[in-house]
Amino acid sequence: MQTEFSKEQQLFREVVARALRDKSPTDAVRELMASERGYDPAVWQELCGEVGLSGIHIPEAYGGAGYGQIELGIVAEEMGRTLYCGPFFASAVMAASALLEAATDVQRQTLLPGIASGETIATLVVDDLNDLTRVGSSILDKDGGLSGVAPIVLDAHVATILIVVAGSDDGGALYSLGPQDGGVSVEPLEELDPTRKLCRVTLDKASGTKLGEVSDAALNRIWDHVSSALAHEMIGGAQRLLESTVEYTLVRYQFGRPIGSFQALKHRCADLLMEIEIARALVHHAARCLDAVEGEPYAASMAKAAAADAYMSAARAAIQLRGGIGFTWENDTHLWFKRAKGSEVLCGTPTIHRERMMSLLEAAS
C-alpha cells in the first residue's frame, strides 16, 4: 500500500492547483453561487476535457485516465481549497462511483466516457443522503416504473442524466433516466451552501434503463468512495481557512500588537493545525486503502468524520478570529463556512460515520 505521494502525484497536484487557482478565483465563486446554473460551462469543459479531471479515476477502458482514489482525492482537495463551483462531485464522484460499482460492463462503456470527458453531467439520485445503503424506503421499481422522492440531489438541474438507486422486490438496482423524461420532476432547492446546487427529484412511474443490480456491499463501497473524495474536498477547505486565518492574525492589530501575538489565538491556531494534520493523514490514508483494497475497512468513515470535524473547527475559528468582519457577507470566510456545514452533513454526519466505523470494526472482528 502506498504511504506517501509519488513524484508524479505531487506534480499532478501542482497542475490541478494551478488550474483551479486560475479558473476558480473567489470572485468567480461569488458570481456562480449567485447564479441559477451554478457553474461555468466553459471552465467545466476546460477542467474536464483539457485537464482531464473528471475522468482521472475512471479506467482507461471507459474513457478515463485510469488512476485511482488518490488522484481523485488530489483533485477534490484542490477543489475544496478554491471552492470550485461545478457538478464535479455529483457527476465524477457520486454518479461515476455508482456506475463503477454497480453497472454492467456494457453500461459502463456507454455512460462513463461522457462523464470522463465532461460532456455528460450525471448525478446520483438516492433516497437518503444520510445513509447511502438505505434503499427502498422511497424510490421503488414497481408497477412498471420508478416512483418516489429523492429529497436532495446534487446538481440535478444541470444534469444530462440521472443515475437512480431504487428498491424493488428483487433488491436494489441502478437505473438511468433523462431529466426531461416523462414522470421525472426536478425542482431546485434553496441551499445553505450556495456553492453547491441542490434539487428535489420526484419520480412518478418514470421508465428508467436498468443498469445493474446493487448489493449492500456495493452500496457500502460507493459510500466509501464518495466519503473519501468528500473528505479530501473538506480537508482542502480546512487547510485554506487555517492559512488565511493565521495570515489575518498577523496583519490585524488591536491593542497595539498583531492579534496573532495573543496567546489565546496562538493556541487556538496550534490546536487547529493539529486537528487538521490528524484529519489530513486519515484522509490520504483512506484513498490509499481504497486503491489498495486493504487497511481498515472503516478508513473512509474515519476520514469523513475527522475531516468534517476539522473543517467545522477551522470554519468556526476563521470567523471568530476575524471578529465582526468575519461575519459579514463581504468577507469571503462565510463561503467556506457554509461549504463546511453543508459537507458536514452530506453523505453522513460525523456521528453517523463514527457509528458506521464501529459497525464495520465489529463486523470485521
Binding site: 443522503l129 434553496e190 492589530y253 497595539g256 465582526g324 457577507w329 452530506l346 456521528t351
Partner: protein
C-alpha cells in the same frame, strides 16, 4: 410613594387622558408633560425621580390599558440616557423631548473597522476648525444608522496623549452631506447594520458632550446603559397587534423599524427551544448518540439560566461578592449556541443543506446554523469575556500592554 399609589396615580391619569384617537405626537407630548414618559428621570427633565422598579410599574399600567408609551426603543434610549447623564443643559433641552416623542431617531457610532475588541483604538479624526468640529473617518456595525437623525459619535481629537485620553464624544447630525450611510450585509443574509463614512462632516461646538478628550468616560456611560439592556429590546410590544387605530399603526411602524435588525437574534442564540420538538419530529430523539448531545445542551442551557437567576438574586440582596454574571452569562451563551447548532445539525442530517421557507421550521433551523457564529463576537468576543472573567472575577493579572504612551506611536492598522 408605594407601588399601589403609583399604579393608582398613573391609572387615574390614563383614565382621564388616554384616547387612541389622539395623534401620536400630541399624545406623547401630553405623556411627557405629565411626567410619565421617563419617570426615573429627574423632575426638571420630564421625570419624577422614580427608581427603575417604580418606572416598571408605570410601564405595566400603560401596557395593561393598551396606552402607547413614549418612544424608548433602540439606540434612542442610549442617546437619551447618555445625554441626561453627561450632556449640557442646552443639549438636554434640544434633544431629550424629540427622543421621547419619537420625532428623532438615533444611532450609535462607536466601532470602526480598525477598532473592534479594542474600541478605544478608534482613528476617526475630530479637528476643531473655526468654531466647530470637522470629522473624518469610518464607523461600522451601526444599527439603525440608515434612518437615524442623529448619531452618538466618538472620535479622536488628540493623537499625542494615551489612547483613552484623546477621545471626544459628539452628537452628530446624520442629515448632512458629509455623512454617508451604506448597509452592511451579514453572512446570514440580513442587513442589520450599516457602515457610516464621514468626509468633513460637521458638528457644532455645542454638540460636544463633556470635555474635549473626555469622551471615553462618556462612551463607557453609554456602554453601561447598553449592558444593562437599555434600548436593546423593545418595550410595549404587547400593545401591538391587539388594538386597532391610527395611533397603534404609527406606533407599530416605529417598533417595527427599530426591531427589524434584531429578528435573527433568537437564531444566533441557537433556538434551544426547538431542539426537543425537532428531535421528536425527526425521530432522532431515539438515537442514543443524539440524546447525549441534547442532554448536554439542556444541562448547559438550564444551568446557565439558573446561574444567571442566582446571580441576579444575590445582586438584589446587595452582596459584596464580585458577581461575574454578565461576562459568564455571555460566554455561556456562546457555548450554548454552539452546542445547539451542533445538535440541530445532528437532528437535521442531510436536510441541514437546505434553507428557506420550505426547509425545517420554515427556514429557522438553517438561519440558526449560519447565525450562531455572531454570538461569540457581537457585544464583546468570547476572548474579551474570558479576559474580563479572569481579571475581574478571579483576580488574575493583566498581561503586558503594548498600547501605552501617545496614541500616535502605537502600532495599528
Amino acid at each position: 410613594m408605594t407601588s399601589d399609589e403609583i399604579r393608582a396615580e398613573a391609572g387615574a391619569w390614563l383614565d382621564e387622558h388616554w384616547s387612541p384617537d389622539r395623534p401620536l405626537l400630541e399624545w406623547r407630548n401630553l405623556v411627557i408633560d405629565a411626567g410619565w414618559a421617563a419617570p426615573h428621570w429627574p423632575k426638571e427633565w420630564y421625570g419624577r425621580g422614580f427608581t427603575l422598579e417604580q418606572t416598571d410599574l408605570v410601564e405595566d399600567v400603560f401596557n395593561e390599558r393598551g396606552a402607547v408609551p413614549a418612544a424608548k426603543i433602540g439606540p434612542r434610549r442610549l442617546a437619551s440616557e447618555t445625554i441626561l447623564a453627561c450632556g449640557s443643559d442646552d443639549q438636554k433641552r434640544r434633544y431629550l423631548r424629540p427622543i421621547l416623542t419619537g420625532e428623532h431617531t438615533w444611532c450609535q457610532l462607536f466601532s470602526e473597522p480598525g477598532s473592534g475588541s479594542d474600541l478605544a483604538g478608534m482613528t476617526t479624526r475630530a479637528e476643531l476648525v473655526g468654531g466647530g468640529w470637522v470629522l473624518n473617518g469610518q464607523k461600522v456595525w451601526n444599527t439603525s444608522a440608515h434612518h437615524a437623525d442623529f448619531g452618538l459619535l466618538v472620535a479622536r481629537s488628540n493623537w499625542d496623549v494615551p489612547k483613552h485620553q484623546g477621545i471626544s464624544y459628539f452628537l452628530l447630525d446624520m442629515r448632512q452631506p458629509g455623512v454617508e450611510v451604506r448597509p452592511l450585509r451579514q453572512m446570514n443574509g440580513h442587513q442589520s447594520f450599516n457602515e457610516v463614512f464621514m468626509s468633513n462632516a460637521e458638528v457644532p461646538s455645542e454638540d460636544l458632550v463633556g470635555e474635549e478628550g473626555g469622551g471615553w468616560h462618556v462612551a463607557t456611560t453609554t456602554l453601561s446603559f447598553e449592558r444593562r439592556g437599555f434600548g436593546r429590546r423593545p418595550t410595549g410590544e404587547g400593545i401591538q397587534g391587539s388594538h386597532d387605530g391610527k395611533i397603534y399603526r404609527e406606533y407599530a411602524e416605529e417598533v417595527a423599524l427599530a426591531t427589524e435588525p434584531y429578528t435573527w437574534y433568537p437564531q444566533r442564540e441557537g433556538r434551544v427551544d426547538l431542539v426537543v420538538p425537532r428531535a421528536r419530529e425527526t425521530g432522532t430523539i431515539q438515537d442514543p448518540a443524539v440524546r447525549q448531545e441534547i442532554a448536554k445542551l439542556l444541562c448547559l442551557s438550564r444551568g446557565a439560566s439558573l446561574a444567571s437567576a442566582a446571580a441576579e438574586a444575590k445582586r438584589k440582596a446587595g452582596t459584596t461578592e464580585i458577581i461575574p454574571a454578565g461576562s459568564i452569562g455571555k460566554l455561556a451563551a456562546s457555548v450554548i449556541a454552539r452546542q445547539a447548532s451542533h445538535v440541530h445539525t445532528l437532528i437535521s442530517g442531510a436536510d441541514a443543506m437546505v434553507r428557506g421557507p420550505e426547509s425545517a421550521q420554515g427556514g429557522v433551523i438553517a438561519e440558526v446554523l449560519v447565525s450562531v457564529p455572531a454570538i461569540s463576537i457581537a457585544g464583546g468576543t468570547d476572548e474579551i469575556q474570558r479576559n474580563i472573567i479572569s481579571e475581574r472575577v478571579l483576580g488574575m493579572p493583566k498581561g503586558h500592554r503594548a498600547d501605552k504612551g501617545p496614541f500616535r506611536d502605537i502600532p495599528r492598522n
